[in-house]
Amino acid sequence: MIDLSALAGALHLLGSDAMAWLVVPPGLLIGLIFGAVPGLSISIAMAVFLPATLYMDFLPAILFLSAVFTGGGFGGAIPAILMNIPGTSSAVATAFDGYPMAQAGRHGEALGIGLAASVVGTLAGYAILLLIVGPVAGWVLLLGPTEMLVVAIWGLLLIAVLNDASFAKGIAAGILGILISTVGYSDTGLMRGTFGSMYLLDGIPAIPALIGLFAASELINMAGRDYIVSDESLRTLRMKPILAGVRDTLRRWPAVLRGSLTGTLIGIIPGVGASVANLASYAMAKRGAEQPESFGRGNPEGVIASESANSSSEGGGMVTLLALGLPGGAGTAILLGAFAMHNVTGGPRFIADNTDVVYAIILGNMVQAALLLVVGLAFVFFASSIVKAPLRYLVPWVIAISMTGAYAITGSIVGPLTVAGAGALGWLMRRYDYPVTATVVGLLVGPMAEGELVRSWQISGGDPAFVLGRPITLCFIALLVASVVISELGKRRTRRRRKAREALS
């Protein structure tokens, strides 16, 4: 599986180029900052700093950008834990348990858990990549549009698992997200739901909508409150709980490994990536837990599941980038841009001819993960001071930064208007117990679902029996049905137990 001579070549490459290491700490710090500021994102950071890599050799350039990627992968967890605002779409599930932990004054522990899970997740993702980068290239090519469609539907049906209100409201909220994602020009050139506005031709921008649904609606709800952590004695800034969180994560190694494996496998599928990986891993952890009802109320395993999966999906995404030259998401698409800037094309030929370079990238990223622990510890210590900031100052500032970030993403007024509109919608949804998470999931997987549905329709000629000739699709459908049935039965059992407990007391 591993070419030992290429591995020795990789170690030589890494050992002989000091630049490959000098660029890593600044890259990690840039990623952490851009990931942690709502409205900015890993892809913005990578895009902003891509031109800087033009003056570097290929290996330092890729290691610098992947350091930004690695830092940003965890950076998104910081506002998710401290303010219930996922800095990136990959940290959505981190907020589910991270924020309740922060509200209970366990912010340091939650940040430590998130950091350690990210570090181990990144390490595991790249370790798996080292083993499978060669053989998996052929396997990914077997996935066609029908398989990808089932994956997208599975992502949507997670709504039913994640939803704490009711199945009907979860489905309605998810469908709302899908329909919002279809606004704008379709692949076939049809103008949909634009009301004649040229600003909407490109559709509703997903990241500003995500910021509005999660951040603005939560910030509006915070109006009138004093601090994120209501108990003054818990508003402390100490390294000890952060280190305790790191140790706690390492003790829960089976949960970390399960999340890492899930993330890597989902990351391998092109176009899915960390946004789905964190939700899928969270749903699996919740389903397999002894006390599923404790998820969403500050269970550390929820943070571990999400952070280990979104970080390990980076390694999975690199599989398709290196093996097929296909980007799995925005981050890997920019890495592909860096490949092109250095006249390098990913694919089976690249792996065969430059195995030492591929191994050097993988090993370099594994060392980056270890460095993230050091840089990240210092960063989260200072970031956790946010619990001491009065909300009356924090709320207007975070909204203003988010609005400006949304403008930076879209380059037009559509970004701020989307934040405001989605904020109002999110506030109403929270008020009437509709899960905003379901709408965000629908928004993120909607375009992929529609694209794959149209392609499936075109290649099958509209004949549903076409699926019967696709064994992988049938396997995926069986897994999807089984997971939904098992989780629904589990929810009903929990409800029955709760009613029995209430009747007894």
């Binding site: 489905i171 309605a172 899908i178 709800n221 109006a223 100052y393 909204i399 329709w457």
Partner: protein, 159 residues
Amino acid sequence: MTQQQAPTPPRHRPKPGGIVFAAALALAMLGYAWSILDSARSTVDWLMILPAAGVGVIALAWAALRDAAALRAIPAAAKLPALKGNARPVALLVLICVYAASLPFAGFDLGTALFIAIALLIQGERRIWLIALNAVLGTGLLVWVFHDLLMVRLPTLLM
């Protein structure tokens, strides 16, 4: 491995406005699906939107019926919405919408300064010098970071 015992989850109490909200969403979905069907040239134009909207409307109707049934079980006095606690969030919500809509005219400099000042007033800050300091210096820093450092072409009026 210690794990905190989870508290008993709060039961979701339905609110009368929830039925209106569900009806409004259902109407929006139906309207959108109708507009797509009206302009579609082939099956692929409505392939996902029509079934999705159908499922969405059924789910919303089901959710509204369950909310209505739960509301009937609540005493009439408890159904009145608590308006007092909503004043600040609603005021902030309106302010955010006005802020976003005013940005093309007021620019990020003046618009953000006014937004910060009014939001601080809504949030209960009464010290004028702190409001002014936040609005002027803070906005200046924000616009400088995005406009000059990150080279984002923000619309501005004064800076």
